[in-house]
């Protein structure tokens, strides 16, 4: 396959940045999108140019590092995949592909396509945990039976990989799906009840302070989420927050 790539290049956080065009040929349809970028980078390096920086690590769709906005969609046009799982067979020979970093005030660009997502970490630090110290004497795991449906839903919420596609796809750069997923995981489990009030209030407060926008329920996040995290989690977050506000 021969392709034209339009890629956002930005030297560092203070650089203005611009879109740059690249031509690339002999791409195999079996390559992953990132392997295609590896080929481009190898060519750039051997020519003496600066390679394109992008975040990636596990390359199997679970670490949540990769983060490209491809042809106007987070993780590209395919569904339920991360960029590292997107394959070139999804594109047509001769196609022009536009590649941009996640765009959100809360995710400033570090370099080229690499953005700073530590806002997500700070939200988790504000309350995304159950306060239980490590000890060899915690109660036996089977003393708390959990209804299978709740356990399964908690798991589904917990499969969020923290990639930020929800924020990137949202026209408001809202982080509600991410926060909703984390709050839901604990809200659905009995272990999470004790701290439920403080957890949701603190996490939402931090989310707002980070500069994410307000959810307007467009549902784009759910569609673009590589793990298919459901909008129900946002509704649950709303409920948890409102009832916590009444209590707190």
């Amino acid at each position: 396959m021969d392709l034209t790539l339009k890629i956002w290049r930005q030297k560092n956080a203070n650089d203005k940045g611009k879109m740059v065009d690249y031509q690339i040929s002999d791409i195999s349809p079996d390559m992953s999108f990132l392997e295609m970028l590896d080929v481009l980078n190898n060519e750039l390096i051997e020519k003496g140019d600066a390679p394109v920086s992008f975040d990636h690590d596990c390359r199997e769709g679970i670490c949540g590092s990769c983060s490209l906005y491809i042809n106007g969609e987070a993780h590209g046009p395919d569904r339920l995949v991360t960029t590292c799982q997107l394959h070139m067979r999804t594109f047509k020979d001769g196609e022009t592909i536009v590649i941009e970093p996640w765009r959100a005030k809360a995710f400033p660009v570090i370099k080229d396509l690499v953005v700073d997502r530590t806002a997500f970490d700070r939200i988790q630090q504000a309350g995304g945990f159950i306060s239980v110290n490590t000890s060899g004497n915690t109660i036996d795991a089977n003393t708390i039976p959990i209804e299978k449906e709740d356990a399964d839903n908690a798991f589904m919420a917990a499969t969020c990989i923290g990639c930020g596609a929800c924020v990137a796809s949202c026209k408001n750069s809202s982080a509600m799906l991410f926060v909703g997923a984390k709050v839901s995981q604990f809200a659905l489990l009995p272990q999470g009840q004790i701290e439920a009030t403080d957890r949701v209030l603190n996490m939402v407060k931090q989310m707002d302070e980070e500069g994410f926008g307000n959810c307007t329920n467009t549902g784009a996040c759910e569609v673009e989420c590589p793990k298919g995290i459901s909008l129900e989690n946002i509704a649950r977050l709303n409920r948890e927050y409102l009832s916590a506000s009444l209590k707190g």
Binding site: E35, C58, F129, I130, T134, G136, F186
Partner: protein, 665 residues
């Protein structure tokens, strides 16, 4: 140098308890004055950092990823073992201990493994308390599945994302401590050296991967939870960033490196599709619970399949060779990983590989669809003889069990595994070797600890499935936090460690010199070019089967490649910026040294054991031949060049297990 494993006296079942009762403790007020550095935030590092901070130590945690949650433990799929015996199938601490030692081909340290089995049950309790959503049965209790090399169901799991859920548990525990200020987190920082002061590990040198700044960090002890070195093969199931640098720098500062040649080649990975491949994707071992592995019985059918004139589904049962079931009737498709991998290689080498490269075998779920489907039809009172209906019902069950894995396979291979069998082939997955540690998980450098995959101790020559998660969390939550206290109790009067000392200066200068060389080299080839070549040497000559002649030539070739790398590598950009190529270059430079030691270790070990198969030592049927005289740990001391490394042996004694021929027939 004598290696002292510091194994406590007494009966094996009491060792850990006795040990804990007699070690020195640090009182809570003094813990506030003690700093601990933890490098790596996977299951081992993350759980250790959280627990140490809960205890009151000041923790500085480092990871090269943009968040601690992205450490590669996150990719572990299948599950975590624990001797809970919730299924009532006869499991016990001893049985888990026994299975692990046997699975490791009698090359692991008895006392460590027993302790691991002992604390395994605490891990499950701890994780559930943290809110880790393990799979449950309809009654609300925890579910288990079965893994290779064992005869009980002791594996706890969360669909195919167990590692992710456990890591997020540890990450949440860390977050709580970061929020409290007890952990200072350094994201996007790479450790580039260990600093020793008066013979003790007292700090590290790091590079800030965003700004390129070289930083000094001091502490009273340094813990490495930096994972394994499978990426020395270039292609592996490891993450792109997984590297040996931290462990290797520790080795160069005096820590012995143990059993580097013990590599786990995982039998069920998606086969290589072409030269562009950057990494390999694992299909969880749990699939072997329900999938049957086969190749065609006749070479003519192999040809027909390759030419696409025959579909695998068209091949009749009698024309298929379910070679694992044939060779190992007792364990069948659930033999341990080393055995399954070698068997796949044996069939592929004999010409029965089913894809274009001849390096793939089938993993077939057709009979599982029918088995589950019949059960469902029966439960629902539907027609059990309606094959189409039964198949559909069965597929639904399989989908709930492994749906994400099937989806992943389809995305990569572009074939629907519900309709045609999966193709799989072994790939490098895990390294049992690592830094030598004693019972306290301390290396032979005082104050320098290694936990999780970064150490060598618990899996011997082969790791059983679902044991890596167990070991990582055992070390981090339940072992290290005790053992490190014993060491730190001597440091309560030390006070803060200064970073303005000649030792730190010297270490920083060396790091800078290395980086300057890489940046200013201006060679002709990218880092990947060398990494791929190293990987090819490793796979061809130090891979699933090894022999003396190949290993000798590998040593020479790697050494030559290393000098070529230093002369000819090209690293674009500068050192004072986000420069992924520079980070990669440093990692590959270390792989180029480790690779040579790896081959040297493999050459020295004249036996076949677990993941190390020497062609010279096999039975006429092709089974591994282990040799009594090699019942030791090879711990290598650094002496300048890998080829000059000195071997120290830690003899392994088995008092609670009879060393037998390891048979899965």
């Amino acid at each position: 140098m004598a290696l002292d494993s510091k194994i406590p006296q007494g009966p094996i079942a009491d060792k850990w308890t006795n040990y804990k009762n007699h070690i020195d403790l640090v009182n809570p007020a003094n813990k506030r004055n003690i700093d601990v550095i933890v490098v790596g935030t996977g299951l081992a590092g993350g759980s250790a950092a959280a627990t140490l901070a809960e205890l009151g130590y000041n923790v500085k945690a480092f990871c090269f990823q943009d968040s601690p949650r992205r450490a590669h433990s996150i990719a572990a799929q299948g599950g975590i073992n624990a001797a809970k015996n919730y299924q009532g199938d006869g499991d016990s601490t001893y049985r888990l201990f026994y299975d692990t030692v046997k699975g490791g081909d009698y090359r692991s340290r008895e006392a460590n493994v027993y302790r691991l089995a002992e604390v395994s049950t605490n891990i499950i309790d701890q994780c559930v308390a943290q809110g880790v959503p393990f799979a449950r049965e309809y009654g609300g209790l925890l579910d288990n599945r079965s893994f290779g090399g064992v005869l009980v169901s002791r594996t706890f799991y969360a669909a195919g994302q167990t590692g992710q859920q456990l890591l997020l548990g540890a990450y949440s525990a860390m977050n709580r401590q970061i929020g409290r200020g007890k952990i200072k987190m350094y994201n996007r920082h790479e450790m580039l050296d260990v600093v020793k002061v008066d013979g003790k590990a007292r700090g590290i040198i790091t590079r800030n991967l965003i700004t390129g700044e070289i930083e000094r960090h001091s502490a009273h002890a340094v813990v490495l939870g930096t994972g394994g070195y499978g990426n020395v093969f270039f292609l592996s199931t490891n993450a792109m960033g997984s590297n040996v640098t931290a462990a290797w720098k520790a080795h160069k500062r005096g820590a012995n490196f143990a059993n580097p040649c013990y590599t786990q080649i995982h039998p069920t990975c998606i086969p290589v599709s072409g030269d562009h491949q950057s990494k390999l994707t694992l299909m969880s071992e749990s699939l072997r619970n329900d999938g049957r592995i086969w190749v065609p019985k006749h070479l003519k059918d192999v040809e027909a399949i390759k030419n696409k004139t025959l579909k695998p589904t068209q091949l009749s049962e009698e024309d298929r060779d379910y070679y694992l079931e044939r060779r190992y009737p007792a364990f069948g498709n659930l033999v341990p990983r080393d055995v399954a991998s070698r068997a796949a290689k044996e069939r592929s080498d004999a010409g029965f590989g089913v894809n274009a490269t001849g390096e793939a075998v089938y993993l077939d779920f057709a009979s599982a669809f029918m088995r589950y489907g019949k059960e469902q039809a029966h439960v629902k009172g539907l027609d059990e003889d309606d094959d189409a209906l039964v198949k559909k019902l069965g597929q639904e069950i399989v989908k709930t069990k492994y749906g994400n894995l099937f989806q992943m396979y389809e995305k990569i291979v572009d074939e629907n595994p519900y309709e045609t069998p999966m193709m799989i082939y072994p790939a490098v997955h895990y390294t049992m070797g690592g830094l030598w540690v004693d019972y306290n998980l301390m290396t032979n450098v005082p104050g320098l600890y290694a936990i999780g995959e970064a150490n060598f101790s618990d899996h011997g020559a082969n790791r059983l499935g679902a044991s890596a998660l167990m070991q990582g969390l055992a070390d981090g939550y339940f072992v290290l936090p005790y053992t490190i206290g014993d060491y730190l109790s001597d440091d309560i009067r030390t006070g803060p460690i200064s970073i303005d000392t000649p030792e730190f200066e010297k270490a920083e200068a060396e790091v800078r010199k290395n980086i300057d060389h890489l940046i200013n080299n201006k060679g002709t080839h990218s880092v990947d070019y060398f990494h791929r070549r190293l990987g090819k040497i490793m796979w061809d000559k130090c891979g699933m089967a090894r022999n003396a002649e190949d290993l000798k030539s590998a040593i020479t070739e790697i050494s030559e490649l290393r000098s070529e790398f230093w002369k000819d590598v090209r690293v674009p950009g500068t050192e004072n910026e986000f420069n992924e190529e520079l980070a990669k270059a440093g990692r590959v430079a270390d792989f180029l040294e480790l690779g040579e030691l790896f081959a040297k270790d493999a050459l020295q070990r004249e036996e076949s054991a677990g993941g190390h198969f020497r062609e010279e030592y096999q039975t006429p049927e092709g089974e591994a031949v282990r040799r009594k005289e090699f019942q030791y740990v090879s711990a290598w001391e650094y002496k300048g060049e890998p080829k000059d490394a000195i071997l120290h042996k830690e003899e392994l004694t088995y008092e609670n297990i009879k060393v037998k021929e390891r048979s899965y027939k």
